[in-house]
């Protein structure tokens, strides 16, 4: 596997930030009550991760080890603030519906985790790609969770998509099941925990199959027998 395929594999499945590293659970569980929110949160996270990974990778030679963490935090906080301002300016409805969780991306451990574990040790392009693909892996989990909760909770998909994509998107809304009373349990955080548990369980049960499919078995070279008998 070359470097990028390996990163893709790590980000989307093997080391998926949402399912395996279990980082960033707070936004993961809190904002995924609808697909639209999940998607918006995912896009914001990707933007911040790409930006912070790129910056950290660019300046990695100038950062002394002892103060790397405060610098990473500053860089990430800067990016989050910029993303928040941009959302406020260009996606106002979504800005309102994501609420406090947008600025809270700062505290999402995936971002600082990738800055520390990858971007601070690698070159620019792989770092950008790592940020992007880790973000995509996180977004996929968000989206799946958001979709499940929206369907079970209120029987729709893409409710409020116009907040994210503009007025035309309100036609995307699909009513799958007509529910008079929304399923409260699923809409609230406990439902998110339970749904998340099922997704992780599913991932784990598929794990060996998928890994066998993707990861080519590394040919184990049989060590040639070396004569070890003592010459006495």
């Amino acid at each position: 596997m070359n470097k990028y395929a390996e990163l893709t594999w790590q980000g989307l499945w093997k080391n998926n930030p949402g399912l395996v590293q279990l980082l960033g659970l707070c936004p993961l569980l809190a904002v995924t009550s609808t697909l639209t929110n999940a998607l918006g949160m995912g896009v914001a996270t990707i933007a911040v991760m790409v930006g912070s990974n790129a910056t950290v990778s660019l300046v990695r030679h100038w950062i002394p080890r002892e103060i790397r963490i405060p610098i990473f935090v500053m860089i990430i906080a800067g990016f989050v603030t910029c993303v928040q301002l941009l959302f406020n300016a260009y996606a106002y409805g979504l800005y309102q519906s994501l609420g406090i969780f947008l600025p809270l991306i700062v505290t999402n451990c995936i971002i600082i985790g990738r800055a520390e574990a990858y971007a601070s040790k690698n070159q620019l392009l792989p770092s950008i790609y790592d940020g992007f693909i880790m973000g995509v892996g996180f977004t996929l989990v968000l989206v799946v969770l958001g979709a499940i909760r929206e369907i079970l909770g209120q029987g729709t998909l893409f409710d409020g998509a116009d907040l994210l994509l503009g007025p035309w998107a309100s036609s995307l809304r699909i009513e799958l099941i007509a529910i008079d009373q929304s399923f409260l349990f699923i809409m609230l955080p406990p439902g998110a925990f339970v749904a998340m548990g099922f997704i992780i369980a599913l991932k784990n049960s598929l794990n060996t199959k998928v890994e066998a499919m993707i990861e080519k078995p590394v040919e184990v070279q049989k060590p040639q027998r070396v004569r070890v008998s003592k010459v006495s």
Binding site: P64, A89, S182
Partner: protein, 210 residues
């Protein structure tokens, strides 16, 4: 040792400086757009509580501060937007808070015509239980429209309660506290308006200083 500390301190400071600059630039570039969005949002809300055709001043610019812990539910200053038609007072939209929601404050805006009839009520923000208490949002239920055209006869108007308490407003199945809080808040706003309307409309516009 001191040298390293100084060096690290300087590096940290320069990072802080650069990042602050970037944030500052972004803020500067998006400022107008954000203001415009907020104004648009405000205007959209105002349009829903006071019919656009009934006035001809710049409603969102014409606001005065209001303050009443007893009637408007907050010890902080809120805004009242005043609608005039050729300098004749037509209506006002008052920001108010229902402090006794099921989960914290419920922020409302109440449109009241000059004669004291409600022209419209909207929920601005709240943290009520999704699926139960959130029926006070127009996107979930049209309950909030049941205030329109209603008015109060006196300060102890018995009709201004939920049906469970003997009034004429519906409560929600499984959620009585939320509508009770909203009904009380709208009623209090009406009382406040009755007591203060002359003084409100006499004030010069003082917007911008939130």
């Amino acid at each position: 040792m001191n040298k390293i500390i100084t060096k690290n301190g300087l590096i940290l400071a320069s990072f802080a400086l650069v990042i602050t600059t970037i944030v500052g630039i972004t803020q500067h570039l998006t400022k107008d757009k954000i203001d415009e969005q907020e104004r648009k949002q405000l205007l959209k809300t105002l349009d829903q509580v006071i019919p656009r055709a009934s006035y001809n001043n710049k409603l969102f610019l014409h606001c005065v501060p209001t303050l009443s812990q007893q009637f408007l539910g907050s010890s902080k200053t809120q805004r009242a937007f005043l609608a005039f038609n050729d300098d004749v007072p037509v209506a006002a939209a008052l920001e108010t808070i229902a402090p006794n929601g099921y989960n914290g404050n419920i922020y409302l805006i109440v449109g009241i015509s000059y004669d004291g009839t409600v022209t419209g009520v909207r929920t601005l923000s709240h943290q009520e239980t999704p699926g139960l208490g959130d029926k006070i949002e127009l996107s979930r239920s049209d309950w909030i429209n049941s205030f329109a055209t209603k008015s109060i006869t006196d300060h102890r108007d018995q009709r201004w309660q939920v049906k469970k308490d003997g009034g004429e407003f519906d409560q929600f199945t499984g959620a009585t506290i939320t509508p009770r809080a909203v009904v009380a808040a709208v009623k209090n706003t009406l009382v406040y308006f009755e007591l203060n309307k002359a003084q409100l409309f006499a004030q010069p516009q003082r917007c911008g200083d939130k």
